[in-house]
Amino acid sequence: MKLLYFAWLKTKTGCAQETLARPDGVDNVQALLTWQQGRGAGFADGFADLTALRVAVNQEYADPSHPVGDDDEVAFFPPVTGG
């Protein structure tokens, strides 16, 4: 799966984008968020407050229960501030 990070989440994780195999047992957004929290210091910090984050699966906003699959593009970012 392809994972993307934007704004301060990119700074905290030190990662803009990565492609990796879907972790075992991770089949929805909530599970992916929990998995991110266990990846080490930068990710733990970035994903500490999940209420401060938004998730998009294949470029559409997704709830925690939304499924994620091997070929999905999943993006993590703070609430948007354009306009």
Binding site: A7, F77, P78, V80, T81, G82, G83
Partner: protein
């Protein structure tokens, strides 16, 4: 029409393209957002707009389609820039053209309100204390929420 671009835009040329030659149009409402040199009592020397290419266009197209469904519009336009911008520079332009001014006003405001809470852009402000990511504002959520009740 949706345009996501780094370069500046010419409001007059865009308006001409939006309404020129269509004599059903009675009113055009335009909103242009500019970079301010001050925010929350801090000096801003410049701002960088990050975005999520692909999702940005998708979200803006959905927002525009929703406006076209809700109001009798002859035409509509959203332009949003990304990259580094100085105070006074244009960030965003939203324009709607309709036979009636109420539809033009409501739809234009709907577009900018929704864009602010849905389109994946993030502002990094350059302040005397360094770069600061702008926090989302509750008032923007409230502004977008207003329109949800209508649907």
């Amino acid at each position: 029409m949706i345009k996501v671009q780094q370069e500046d835009f010419d409001v007059a040329a865009e308006l001409q393209a939006l309404s020129g030659g269509n004599h059903k149009i009675g009113g055009v409402t335009v909103f242009v957002g500019l970079v301010r040199d001050m925010a929350d009592n801090e000096n801003i020397s410049a701002m960088t707009l990050e975005h999520y290419p692909g999702m940005t266009e998708k979200q803006l197209e959905k927002i525009e389609q929703e406006a076209r469904n809700r109001w009798p519009l002859e035409n509509s336009l959203i332009i949003h820039r990304y990259g580094r911008l100085a105070p006074g520079e244009q960030i965003v332009m939203v324009a709607t053209a309709s036979p009636h001014r109420d539809a033009a006003f409501d739809s234009c405001r709907f577009l900018i309100d929704w864009l602010k809470t849905k389109a994946p852009f993030w502002k990094l402000e350059e302040t005397p204390d360094g770069g600061k990511w702008v926090d989302a504002r509750a008032s923007d959520d409230a502004a977008a929420e207003r329109w949800r009740k209508l649907s």
